[in-house]
């Protein structure tokens, strides 16, 4: 199964990013419907882009958590204070663990960044800039998902609060995940 004039990888990525103009989009689709080889290549790109699209971001707003709860997600919440280090259990009957990283002064914050690293090695596991936050709550909400079970269990979560005219302030929380 080969194509004499395959669609370029870059074009397929742009197609899945919805970053082609309508004519170019039509051209890609005309080609795909007549070409099993390029369909297979497009499916290899889509497997990644659509998984990224569907993935729940690691940091959620309170409104998003309530929306998930309304849809029937079984959610357990744990609250952490800055500097705290303790275990949390991802129980078998939970779909989602929410770590409420509290004790933050967010009243003047204009941006909050989040990083999670392996406690043992310091290796970066994930970093997200400009996460959702609610100034009144003084907390950000980290969504620990069951498929994270294969990632390092003992983690350091850092929250950097940016406010105009002051250097960023960082709070850390050490969370040791145990999966049932």
């Amino acid at each position: 199964m080969t194509c004499p004039d395959p669609i370029a990888w870059d074009t397929l990525v742009d197609y899945w990013a919805a970053d082609l103009d309508p004519t170019a989009t039509d051209d890609v689709e005309d080609h795909l419907f007549g070409c099993p080889a390029c369909t297979a290549a497009a499916a290899r790109v889509a497997a990644i882009t659509e998984a990224l699209r569907a993935a729940l971001p690691p940091v959620l707003s309170r409104a998003r958590i309530e929306q998930l709860r309304t849809r029937g997600a079984r959610i357990r919440e744990n609250t952490f204070s800055p500097g705290q280090r303790r275990e949390v259990l991802f129980a078998r009957d939970a779909d989602l663990l929410i770590h409420r990283l509290a004790g933050l002064d967010l009243a003047q914050a204009d941006r909050v960044d989040f990083r999670i690293t392996d406690e043992a090695t310091g290796d970066l596991i994930a970093a997200v800039e400009a996460v959702p936050f609610d100034p009144a709550e003084g907390a950000v909400y980290v969504a620990c998902q069951r498929h994270y079970g294969t990632l390092p269990a003992d983690t350091v979560m850092s929250v950097a609060v940016h406010a105009p005219g002051t250097p960023p302030r960082t709070a850390t929380y050490t969370i040791l995940h145990r999966f049932e």
Binding site: W16, A43, R44, A46, A51, R53
Partner: protein, 183 residues
């Protein structure tokens, strides 16, 4: 050598002994293409699967009735039908494919499409450099347009695209490496 698509359409229209096998083969060939179209335009795996069923049903009915004027271009007919049905689904005017007629579509058209291993994907994303990670997450998880990403990261739109092309290729290689390691 496998029969061309046009031969399958003609066998279906003729209602020969081979018609049933031709229908199954036509569905097997086009289901992945319709599914991808559905994923891209309907943004939902379940709706994409509904689209596959509705389009195949409509095309098989047309083929049986000899209404596919140019069997050589059945791929265009499939695409046109996909566009129409997807548009009706977006408008909320599409009738469900129905329980009865669904039975006429071969049950094995679902070719078990690849699903990325989410844990492996998280790990692969974490191995990207900061800029690449930002670009792929803003592009696909937050669905931000390239010009907005460019402004936010203070780079050109062309640069956003180049970073994204390379990052998705790197994620593909990383996921393939995980699969080989698991095999």
């Amino acid at each position: 050598m496998q029969a061309p698509d046009s031969e399958l359409v003609r066998a279906i229209a003729a209602g020969t002994r081979e018609a049933r096998a031709a229908e199954a083969e036509l569905c097997r060939r086009f289901a992945p293409r319709i599914r991808l179209y559905g994923l891209r335009h309907l943004r939902d795996e379940d709706r994409a699967r509904d689209l596959v069923q509705s389009v195949l049903l409509a095309v098989l009915q047309a083929a049986r009735a000899g209404r596919i004027a140019d069997p050589e271009r059945v791929d265009r007919f499939m695409l046109g039908t996909s566009r129409n049905v997807a548009q009706r689904m977006r408008d909320g005017t599409s009738a469900n494919a129905g329980d009865g007629p669904l039975a006429t579509i071969p049950a094995d058209v679902d070719d078990k499409p690849e699903r990325a291993d989410l844990a492996a994907l998280v790990r692969c994303v974490s191995r990207l450099d900061d800029r690449s990670r930002q670009v792929v997450m803003l592009s696909f998880n937050e669905e931000r347009p390239s010009d907005e990403i460019a402004t936010r990261l203070a780079i050109s739109t062309a640069n956003v695209r180049v970073v994204r092309h390379r990052a998705i290729a790197a994620l593909r290689r990383c996921l393939d490496g995980h699969k080989e390691a698991d095999a």
